[in-house]
């Protein structure tokens, strides 16, 4: 009581108090540090924006000249004014879709094995193996595909087209089904082969995301499932997979984003064709990145603009896919912990 009476009169007599500034004064050394670090950030931002805006500016010139026909023309002949990405973008998407169909089960199986089935030592070995697979240069996959895989997988292509050729996308033109004397070169350099190789390349990317999410599945819920008598697969199906749902979708989409932009392996495998070809098993396809890699050298300045426009569309694709994937991964329940 006495203490409070002592302090009471001070407050009202002071009149309006000066609002204290909450800003800290960091001193010259810190101000210099913050300035330098901020300068680094600004420089990186400038570089990135320069790349983006230059791409957009040059691409826009070609887009403006071609108009809407840019999205409907299948030919690529910029100097004659006849160019468009209808064929290449369809090829790109088809290759990426085949890649995802291959990569998704492989990545899911590998991620489940690492996080649920593998014993301690093997688990860390497998994690390293997957990371190593992501570090193997794409040209190595390309070499393997073009010298060996392509010539082994054509019989698989032939088998699929023989038995499932009645489904339009598995049809191969110019070959009779079940014809034992059919020329096998019809089946090489196809969307299917390129898609499988790209799928192998993006498997580790999708797998890493899934594995991380699976290993974060809450221990309390896992043990709860076991306590209720679940088998290991029952536990996975009722706890791990629902928990990692976002990561499965997001990881697959990140892989898709990478598959859309893959260049050198695709360049080595495919034989370029500038028409929309939905028959994935048939020789000849095209993709935006391989178009750029094959045509930049002989291109006129306007041709470069046209390539940039194609690149811009591809970038918009991968950007959209990546951002949706990142938001799905971030929104999934990663980091949630159940109370035990």
């Amino acid at each position: 009581m006495i203490d409070t009476q002592e302090f009471e009169p001070i407050a009202p007599d002071q009149g309006p108090q000066v609002r204290r500034s909450l800003k800290a004064n960091p001193g010259p050394a810190d101000r210099f540090f913050r300035g330098a670090v901020r300068g680094g950030g600004v420089a990186v931002l400038a570089i990135m924006l320069l790349v983006g805006s230059f791409l957009a500016y040059r691409g826009w010139q070609a887009l403006h000249k071609a108009g809407l026909s840019f999205f409907t023309t299948q030919d690529w002949n910029p100097d004659a004014g006849r160019f468009g990405i209808a064929a290449v973008i369809v090829g790109t998407v088809l290759i990426a879709v085949v890649a995802i169909v291959v990569a998704m089960p492989l990545a899911l199986g590998m991620a489940l094995y690492i996080s649920e089935y593998a014993p301690g030592r093997i688990k860390s070995w497998m994690t390293s193996t997957v990371d190593l697979m992501a570090a193997v240069p794409s040209v190595v996959y390309g070499l393997w595909a073009v010298t060996l895989f392509e010539w082994k997988a054509d019989s698989l292509s032939k088998w699929i087209s023989d038995w499932f050729g009645w489904i339009p996308i598995f049809k191969v033109d110019g070959v009779k089904r079940h014809d034992p004397l059919a020329s096998m070169t019809r089946y090489t350099s196809s969307t299917f082969i390129a898609g499988i190789v790209v799928g192998i390349m993006v498997t580790p990317i999708a797998c890493a995301i899934m594995r991380q999410a699976f290993s974060q599945a809450p221990a309390g819920e896992r043990e709860g499932a076991y306590a209720l008598g679940a088998t290991r697969w029952g536990m996975i199906r009722s706890v791990v997979l629902p928990f990692g749902q976002g990561a499965i979708i997001g990881g697959t989409m990140l892989g898709l984003g990478r598959a859309l932009g893959e260049t050198i392996a695709v360049v080595m495998i495919i034989s370029p064709v500038f028409q929309i070809r939905l028959h994935v098993l048939q020789n000849g396809t095209s993709s935006v990145s391989s178009l750029i890699a094959l045509r930049y050298g002989e291109a006129s300045p306007f041709g470069i603009s046209a390539l940039m426009a194609a690149g811009l569309v591809l970038f918009a694709f991968t950007l959209g896919v990546n951002f949706v994937a990142a938001s799905i991964v971030a929104r999934s329940r990663s980091g949630a912990v159940s109370e035990v």
């Binding site: 960091p26 001193g27 050394a29 810190d30 540090f33 913050r34 901020r38 300068g39 680094g40 950030g41 420089a43 990186v44 931002l45 990135m48 790349v51 230059f54 791409l55 899911l108 199986g109 590998m110 489940l112 094995y113 690492i114 649920e116 089935y117 990371d131 190593l132 697979m133 570090a135 193997v136 240069p137 794409s138 040209v139 190595v140 996959y141 390309g142 070499l143 393997w144 082994k152 019989s155 290991r232 697969w233 029952g234 859309l260 932009g261 260049t263 050198i264 360049v267 080595m268 990145s289 750029i292 890699a293 300045p301 470069i304 591809l314 970038f315 991968t318 950007l319 990546n322 951002f323």
Partner: protein, 420 residues
């Protein structure tokens, strides 16, 4: 075991005879009657093994019958795939004789998951081994590392010519690219971590967006700006710039993640001791995250070494060893692998595979180094660092002692001694 057995006995004695002092009664120790079988603690039973291998044998033979006698099938891949599918079905049927349905599903799921994992590992091992086998003919000759291709024709034997130009070119290009990206990337990561706010959020979003940039477009950008507009030749410098644009967002993102793992308590302790921000970053944040940052840089370098498409557009190609990054085209390992394979000549293809094998070895070595350094988490010390840290604190202790003795020569006891 003994305590569990005795406790009810003890309580019963205390309740029944309240007057007598509590006594522990031990159960009579009877020797085990007859020979006891040792209990199996493992979950694997003989029936499981029988079911698994039985299904495998049955499917292999059934597929063999199908292949040779019934249907006109050929091909090893088809045989293996059919055997596998049939084997899974048979395994499910065999298990269902003994087990209930959830167990059957669990078994089948386990087989499928294991097979997928094994397939991934097999594919990776196959690709790596295949590259080494095909490149072996070229890489065993020492001239592969000491000569370039300037006087070697496509049909010349493998004892002539080599990949010196590509190895030198790769080192120069990646060196320049890292000299640009490592300082810039680390500074930007520190910026994103240390100065949060709307601007750094924006920078982070842009960097994230740039990781989606396909590498060939980075090459096209450098080709269109540096080479076509600014008039720089197709050279090592242009290639290094293209590599830098590709790798920069990757390094920034990886370093940003690593810096976020630094425990907040450490930096806050540093601020609480009154040290300014730059000193905290230099003495606490960066040393704590050193291992992770090194891994980020090394994996970025591995990525830069393996990139082909930016180099394809910007470096040109040559058969001469070129150590001048500013003038003239420069070769690099991935580019050499790519261009040699396109020729189709057996010896040239062997050289291409040789270049790919050397590339793979470099990437593997970098990867292993990155793993060894980055294996420990933020703030975990190696034994050497721990020794150094102990020596430093002993030095500090001695210094305090000396200061204390100098300040109060008469005083015998020391606060540090009593403090422990």
């Amino acid at each position: 075991m003994t305590t569990v057995d005795t406790s009810p006995a003890t309580t019963s004695t205390t309740t029944s005879t309240a007057a007598a002092p509590p006594r522990t009664t031990l159960p009579p120790r009877t020797p085990p009657s007859g020979q006891q079988a040792r209990r199996q603690l493992g979950t694997l039973r003989t029936t499981d093994l029988l079911a698994f291998f039985g299904a495998l044998a049955a499917s292999a033979t059934m597929t063999g019958l199908l292949w040779t006698q019934i249907a006109p099938f050929t091909g090893l891949v088809g045989y293996v795939v059919t055997t596998w599918c049939l084997g899974v079905v048979l395994y499910a049927v065999l298990t269902s004789f003994d087990e209930n349905r959830p167990t059957v599903w669990a078994r089948v799921a386990a087989v499928i998951v294991h097979s997928l994992a094994a397939l991934v590992v097999a594919v990776l091992a196959f690709i790596v081994v295949y590259t080494f086998i095909k490149g072996w003919k070229a890489v065993v000759h020492s001239n592969f590392y000491t000569q370039d291709m300037r006087s070697t024709g496509p049909r010349d034997p493998l004892t002539d010519g080599g990949a010196r130009h590509a190895i030198v070119g790769t080192l120069i290009e990646v060196g320049i690219a890292l000299a640009i990206t490592v300082p810039l990337g680390l500074v930007t990561a520190v910026f994103l971590h240390e100065i949060p706010g709307r601007f750094s959020r924006f920078v982070r979003t842009v960097v994230d967006a740039m990781t989606a940039l396909p590498d060939v477009i980075a090459g096209l950008f450098i080709y269109a700006t540096l080479i076509l507009i600014l008039g720089v030749e197709q050279s090592g410098l242009a290639a290094a710039t293209a590599l830098a644009v590709t790798v920069l967002p990757i390094i920034i993102r990886a370093s940003d993640v690593v810096l976020r793992l630094v425990p907040g308590g450490l930096t806050e302790a540093s601020y609480a001791l009154g040290s300014p921000q730059w000193r905290t970053v230099r003495r606490v944040t960066l040393p704590t995250a050193r291992a992770g940052l090194a891994t980020a840089v090394i994996l970025g370098a591995a990525r830069a070494i393996g990139e082909t498409s930016p180099v394809l557009l910007t470096a040109g190609a040559t058969d001469h060893t070129n150590t001048d990054p500013v003038h003239g085209p420069m070769m690099s390992l991935p580019l050499m692998a790519y261009s040699k394979i396109e020729t189709g000549q057996p010896n040239e293809m062997a050289r291409g595979f040789g270049a790919a094998a050397v590339l793979l070895v470099v990437v593997l070595v970098l990867f292993v180094i990155g793993r060894i350094i980055g294996g420990r988490g933020a703030g975990q010390l190696t034994s050497r660092q721990l020794r150094r840290r102990t020596a430093a604190s002993q030095r500090d202790r001695r210094r305090y002692d000396e200061r204390h003795i100098a300040a109060a020569p008469g005083n015998g006891t020391h606060p540090a001694d009593t403090g422990g």
